[in-house]
């Protein structure tokens, strides 16, 4: 059961059960929605961006522990960072999850290179079908950020 223990780490279950920043934003913000039709997971995201910095974010939706925890951890880490850093972070995360490929093109000095809690999601890599659960919030985030640069 080592694989499962690694998948369902304490910190993941904690984020699943106590997801951060649930709700909606009221001020100016962009909104994106993501879903995983094959399992039914849904993720709704509000992001406020001012002067190229993510100033606030809020999430709703439902899904498995992995997608919810991934989203909650994402909320924790993106607020206060520049959009550029958040994109780096997204790329770094996708590299870790083997969603994107590349030769560590992230500058290790950049803040985006520190994944923190998110590292706990590494256990997901052993369960390839679940990778898209972990990715759902991040794909939604990219959709949201793309609206800010339009």
């Amino acid at each position: 059961m080592t694989g499962l223990d690694e998948l369902y780490r304490e910190v993941i279950l904690d984020h699943y059960r106590n997801p951060r920043k649930q709700g909606t934003l009221s001020g100016e913000h962009v909104h994106a929605e993501g879903s995983n039709p094959s399992c039914g997971d849904e993720f709704f995201l509000d992001v406020a961006v001012t002067d190229g910095v993510v100033t606030d974010a809020a999430m709703r939706g439902q899904g498995c522990s992995i997608s919810q925890a991934s989203g909650s951890m994402m909320m924790d880490i993106i607020v206060g960072r520049t959009v550029e850093d958040v994109r780096d972070l997204t790329h770094k995360f996708k590299l870790m999850m083997s969603i994107e490929e590349g030769d560590n093109p992230v500058d290790p000095e950049r803040p985006g290179s520190v994944l923190g809690d998110l590292e706990a999601l590494q256990g997901v890599r052993k369960f390839p079908v679940r990778i898209k659960c972990a990715d759902l919030p991040w794909a939604t985030l990219t959709d949201a950020l793309d609206q800010t640069t339009a």
Binding site: M1, G3, L4, D5, L7, Y8, L13, R17, S38, C39, G40, D41, E42, Q62, G63, C64, S65, I66, Q68, F127, V129, R130, C133
Partner: protein
């Protein structure tokens, strides 16, 4: 318990290991495993007889045609039908779409109503929605009782002459609830509506005789009854099939083709445009042969016993909620459940580590999920090759899931 254990040897895949454990396949409501005889029948077709059907005077073409039409006779016989009233389709979904387009597009008009139930599979909802867009007909729904069987108490109010079609499932693929076939068939007849039975979960699990059912149409899939993918069947009463227009045009379904108009071949060929799924028909025939040899009543009894055991053992697990009738006479062997706040997808992953295959999700029944106010369930489902030890394995693995998620 009817001992069908020896039959397991007929299913090669049951030997397989998954994550270090022998496969425990509890996902037959999604698709069933295939006995060697079905694989052999298709292999034999391809290795010795393969040719296109109906169009040829050479030996292989004759043999292929006989095998294809012979399979039609077998599958028709399996549901007590006349051979000519059995149309091969790609599956239940295609069969239901054929009815929606072939009958609906030519008979429905604005204001007409199509009565369905909340427990329907998308295959018995979306075709009616599609056809409503073209015709102006409208869907109306029967709600459910507390035990998740269909609530027919309001039928009298709903039942008006506007109802043109009543389409319902013989057995829910989510809750296992049996559909009120007789009540809805009578209802349809009383208002001159046609009745459409989604038999995807019914025909594989219980003896079905269309001469005893009052329905006008019945749809089912081979892959859910030991047969191959890529084929299913549409049965209809002769007069209903006559009333239906073909939905696909092409070779084999025509009588004459002029530049600007064509006439159709007789039923059932008018609904089988182009090269049909020939090898698949042969496999379908072998599947019903297998089921007939075991006996559908034996299979139904076996599944009933297994389901009773599963319901009992699952109810003993703390935090576990079963969605569906507890009364074994009102249900089949698809058992949906929730386990505390462990998401069904997580349940499926955890069970899979023990080699146990269950399904997690909305089971193509989103309106039902919304009705139950849940996004998804985990579902175990049984067939003739399942044994009580597999229920034990399921229960044990669910206890692991509870532990992993710290449920106490």
């Amino acid at each position: 318990m009817t001992d069908l254990r020896a039959l397991r040897a007929d299913f090669p895949i049951l030997e397989r290991e998954v994550n270090g454990h022998q496969l425990v396949y509890l996902d037959s409501a999604a698709t069933t495993q295939k006995p060697q005889s079905v694989l052999d029948a298709m292999d034999d077709y391809y290795r010795f007889h393969n040719a296109n059907v109906h169009r040829g005077a050479h030996t292989l073409a004759v043999e292929a045609t006989e095998m294809y039409e012979g399979a039609r006779a077998k599958v028709a016989g399996f549901i007590g039908a006349e051979t000519d009233q059995l149309v091969f389709t790609r599956g239940t979904t295609t069969a239901l779409n054929y009815i929606a387009y072939g009958w609906g597009l030519n008979h429905l008009k604005a204001g007409d109503k199509i009565l369905v139930t909340v427990m329907e599979h998308h295959a018995n909802l979306v075709p009616w929605q599609l056809i409503s867009r073209y015709t102006g007909a409208e869907l109306v729904y029967l709600e459910l009782n507390d035990d998740l069987t269909v609530d027919v108490s309001s039928l009298d109010q709903i039942l008006t002459d506007d109802i043109a079609i009543i389409a319902f499932s013989g057995m829910s693929n989510v809750t296992g609830a049996l559909g009120p076939i007789d009540v809805l068939t009578d209802a349809a007849r009383s208002v001159g509506a046609i009745s459409v039975l989604d038999g995807a979960q019914l025909v594989p699990h219980t003896p079905v005789d269309v001469t005893e059912l009052g329905v006008d149409f019945l749809a089912f899939s081979a892959h859910k009854m030991l047969g191959p993918t890529g084929i299913g069947a549409l049965w209809g009463r002769a007069e209903r099939l006559e009333e239906m227009e073909p939905t696909e045009g092409g070779g084999e379904m025509i009588n004459t083709v002029d530049r600007h108009s064509s006439t159709w071949a007789p039923v059932p060929h008018k609904f089988e445009a182009g090269t049909p799924p020939i090898a698949e028909a042969v496999g379908f025939g072998a599947a019903v042969d297998y089921l007939d040899a075991v006996g559908m009543d034996v299979i139904a009894a076996h599944e009933g016993e297994l389901t009773a055991i599963a319901l009992e053992r699952l109810s003993e697990i703390p935090d576990l909620t079963i969605y569906g009738p507890k009364d074994i006479t009102k249900r089949g062997g698809a058992v949906s459940f929730e386990l505390g706040d462990v998401h069904p997808h997580d349940i499926a992953t955890i069970l899979d580590q023990d080699g146990i295959a269950v399904r997690a999700g909305h089971h193509c029944a989103k309106p039902l999920m919304k009705y139950l106010n849940i996004p998804a369930t985990a579902r175990a489902s049984f067939y003739l090759y399942n044994v009580p030890e597999e229920v034990d394995a399921l229960v044990e693995s669910l206890h692991k899931a509870r532990k992993l998620f710290g449920l106490t």
